[in-house]
């Protein structure tokens, strides 16, 4: 039996991402990895909460944050999570083209989010002179939100790479797990943002 026969069966199974041992391993392993990531972000949240009161001058959370932009960002990222679910739905139905389409939408929404975040940081730095170095609050804020933004950036590269790489050959049992875990990662980023929205922005405004 050659690899081609195994990875491109005549009838694709219902869960192509978990049909091979490699796929199952990736599935479990990536959940574990996300467990570790949870501790990583928890540590960053803890640090931020400990330092969010250590502001300098007028650059307090209350004065800086504007909920309008953050609301738009939240909507963009939440919607992108939904569209990645659509993509995985089509993957399970073996409709490669529609999967690619929805992944494309996901990437565009992610780019929109990232654009807003870059604008937000630029705005803080140039309008308020609020930087990574200006206070412990600044260090904590940019580190926490920046780590999340870095994760978004990595996710965009990842999903785009997968889309380009598999453009011509379609779905098989070798790349299905890769698509699936990239979408798991995308959900995780989304969940972290929900916490950032609550802990950093909402608490910053009203807390």
């Amino acid at each position: 039996m050659s690899h081609d026969d195994v990875l491109n069966p005549k009838h694709m199974p219902h869960d192509p991402e978990k049909a091979t041992l490699e796929g199952k391993n990736k599935f479990v392993g990536f959940w574990m990895f996300l467990g570790g990531e949870t501790v990583l972000f928890a540590s960053l949240f803890g640090t931020y909460l400990a330092l969010s009161g250590s502001t300098s001058g007028d650059n307090t959370p209350e004065n800086l944050f504007g909920l309008e932009l953050v609301f738009i960002m939240t909507m963009l990222l939440l919607t992108s999570s939904l569209t990645s679910v659509y993509a995985m739905y089509h993957m399970k139905n073996h409709d490669f083209k529609k999967m690619q389409l929805w992944l494309g939408v996901t990437v565009l929404l992610g780019l929109g989010f990232l654009g807003c975040e870059i604008y937000e940081f630029y705005h803080y730095i140039h309008e308020y002179g609020f930087t990574f170095r200006s206070s412990a609050f600044g260090s904590g804020f940019y580190t926490l939100v920046g780590f999340h933004g870095g994760h978004v950036l990595f996710g965009l590269f990842w999903i785009t790479s997968l889309m380009i790489r598999n453009q011509k050959r379609g779905l098989n049992l070798y790349n299905a797990p890769k698509f699936y875990i990239s979408s798991l990662y995308w959900h995780f980023i989304d969940v972290v943002w929900v916490f950032i929205f609550t802990v950093v922005y909402l608490l910053g405004k009203v807390g």
Binding site: M1, H3, L7, L21, K24, N25, V28, G29, M32, F33, G35, G36, E37, V39, L40, S43, L44, G46, T47, A50, L51, G53, S54, T55, S56, F132, R133, S135, A136, F137, G138, S139, G140, T143, S161, L162, R165, Y174, K178
Partner: protein, 620 residues
């Protein structure tokens, strides 16, 4: 590809083979050699410390160099010696014990090793570039965040890279144990070493990210001007202590749990009995792992967290003595009434029990928050953690190496030399550290460069130094034994100890695909069951068929080298922005390798059934 390479046997081919290997047994060799080398370096640092403290008002090394020695001794021993040596055992043994052909992610396994090695190298390069880290292995802020020179920068970057490797290794073993067990190998039939590896991997997964964050914050403070630990800008130095110990306390259980597992297998094998209270042992392991996350602040009793926090952490700390006690008693009951064979592995295991019990007892003493104010930062603490880490982990590593050496290298370590090495190490260990309890109670602070005459500390320190040299002699005898065995000893049989678990059903050393046919596990101690029913080997679970194997790859080596180069860039960009070129080159290499891995399909290859039959079927 790797098939062809394995068959040539030039030196160059062998080096290439090891650099690109994804075989867990070869990665175990790599971990053992690299960890062993760092163990010797850490040991030399310890000897230098002990020579400095041999007599009062000593000037053997300068105060600054002394600080570098204690920092590097601790850091090296924990991160670069003990952990890799444990990973060597896990890699060598766990897939064999659960009846798997390899780990779940062979590529990541190799990546984990190379990250550790390059991280360790980066840390040790600091000796030659103007000074090693000097803020203690715990690297407390603000001492560390304001320490001049680049020493602490090396600590930050080196541990960050090595830590990533450890995290990857942990995830790998979790998935391996969850997904790759042979038919019939249920969780409650797993050998204790596999169980403790499993729980240890959970600890690694949830503990290391806290260190990752701590190191990032330290990196940002030192290299990019942030203010996390800078009190003048509103920072808080205690954050480092919390993050460090949220990682650091589970870390000590990461060090001890695997050897608990190894001891369990050893006691049961050499007593010719199944382990007493198997399920209690499993439960105790899980409980220790769980409680291990609840006690980090007992390292911070004197920080001033307040009486309530101190009380809670004192109680949870003392609670860990309960599952640990369960283990000690179960080991004793395993030996009770067994037909004990006093092999070298068993000797180390026997030496471990009283030693570790003393260490556990001083642990409970230290856990008593009120009393800790007296012990804190004295030699009493030094004595305590050497009793658990040397008396537990290092004794355990020696025991496990003697036990599994035939499985790793195909030869049984010479038993006479083994006995000869044990005694100087064991006696030397107690000479070195027992007296340190009293030095601590007499008020000798840890990490001090020197002490005055006439304070009654001289004799104790002299005894301690003599002990350290005895330990060095024990280690040298072991090294001699390794060489002697490689040259003089005959090839070992598959099952030299009359073992009970699956790894002893395979030839020593096993073929690269481990199991020709996946074994069928019919109970706890599967090999013993088959032996008792008069069979020679394990019943297979499948007919002979093609075996799928992963390809070797150079990419893990390149990725790790990329981070190594970038590490230098990050450290020196503070002095000269041109060093960002090194960051770009290193990160470029890293991401390019990662990208290649993603774009190039790696499907592995098959060993065909016909080839398996040809390869010496007579043994089975």
């Amino acid at each position: 590809m790797s098939n062809a390479i394995v068959q040539q046997r030039g030196i160059g081919a062998m080096i290439w083979d090891y650099i690109t290997t994804v075989d867990h047994k070869k990665i175990a060799h790599l971990y053992l050699v690299a960890g062993g080398l760092f163990f010797l370096i850490g040991g030399l640092e310890a000897l230098i410390i002990r020579i400095q403290l041999m007599q009062p008002d000593s000037n053997f090394i300068s105060a600054g160099l002394y600080n570098e020695m204690i920092t590097m001794h601790g850091t090296t021993m924990i991160f670069l010696a003990a952990m890799p040596l444990i990973f060597a055992l896990m890699n060598a043994v766990v897939p064999l014990q659960i009846g798997a052909r390899d780990v779940a992610f062979p590529f990541l396994n190799s990546l984990g090793f190379w990250l550790f090695l390059f991280g360790g190298l980066l840390l040790n390069v600091s000796w030659f570039t103007g000074g090693a880290p000097d803020a203690g292995w715990t690297n407390y802020a603000p001492l560390s965040s304001t320490s001049p020179g680049h020493g602490v920068d090396y600590y930050v970057m080196g541990l960050q890279i090595a830590g990533a490797g450890t995290l990857i290794g942990g995830i790998n073993f979790l998935v391996t144990i969850i997904n790759m067990r042979a038919p019939g190998m249920t969780y409650m039939r797993m050998p204790l070493f596999t169980w403790t590896t499993f729980i240890t991997s959970v600890l690694i997964l949830f503990a290391f990210p806290a260190l990752t964050v701590g190191l990032f914050l330290m990196m940002f403070d030192r290299m990019f001007g942030s203010a996390f630990f800078d009190v003048t800008a509103g920072g808080n130095a205690i954050i480092w202590e919390h993050l460090f110990w949220i990682f650091g306390h589970p870390e000590v259980y990461i060090l001890i749990l695997p050897v608990f597992g190894a001891f369990s297998d050893i006691f049961s094998t050499f007593s010719k009995k199944r382990l007493f209270g198997y399920s209690a042992m499993v439960f105790a392991t899980v409980l220790i792992g769980f409680l291990g996350f609840m006690v980090w602040a007992h390292h911070m009793f004197t920080v001033g967290l307040g009486p309530i926090a101190n009380s809670i952490f004192a109680v949870s700390t003392m609670a860990i003595a309960v599952p640990t006690g369960i283990k000690i008693f179960n080991w004793l009951f395993t030996m009770w009434g067994g037909s004990i064979k006093l092999s070298v592995a068993m000797l180390w295991a026997l030496g471990f029990i009283p030693t570790f019990t003393i260490g556990g007892m001083t642990g409970v003493m230290l856990g008593s928050a009120a009393a800790d104010y007296q012990y804190h930062d004295t030699y009493f603490v030094v004595a305590h953690f050497h009793y658990v880490i040397v008396g537990g982990t290092v004794f355990g590593l020696f025991a496990a190496m003697h036990y599994w050496w035939p499985k790793m290298f195909g030869k049984v370590l010479n038993e006479k030399l083994g006995h000869l090495g044990f005694w100087p190490f064991f006696i030397g260990f107690h000479l070195t550290f027992f007296i340190q309890h009293f030095l601590g109670l007499m008020g000798m602070p840890r990490r001090y460069w020197t002490y005055f005459e006439g304070q009654g500390l001289a004799t104790g320190n002299l005894i301690s130094t003599i002990g350290a040299f005895l330990m060095a002699i024990g280690t040298l005898v072991f090294l001699y034994n390794v060489v002697y065995t490689a040259i003089k000893e005959p090839k070992a049989s598959a099952d030299p100890w009359d073992g009970r678990t699956l790894e002893w059903s395979l030839p020593s050393a096993p073929p690269f695909y481990n199991f020709k046919q996946t074994p069928l596990v019919r109970g706890l101690d599967p090999l013993w069951i088959e032996k008792m029913e008069g069979r020679k080997g394990i019943t297979p679970a499948e007919p002979l068929g093609d075996i799928h194997m992963p390809n070797g790859s150079i990419l893990p080596f390149l990725m790790s080298m990329g981070l190594f180069i970038a590490g230098f860039g990050f450290i020196y960009q503070v002095d000269n922005k041109l060093w960002f070129i090194a960051v770009a080159v290193g990160m470029g290499l890293f991401f390019a390798s990662m990208f290649t891995r993603s774009f190039k399909d790696d499907l592995g290859y098959h060993i065909h059934k016909e080839d398996l039959i040809e390869k010496g079927d007579g043994k089975e």
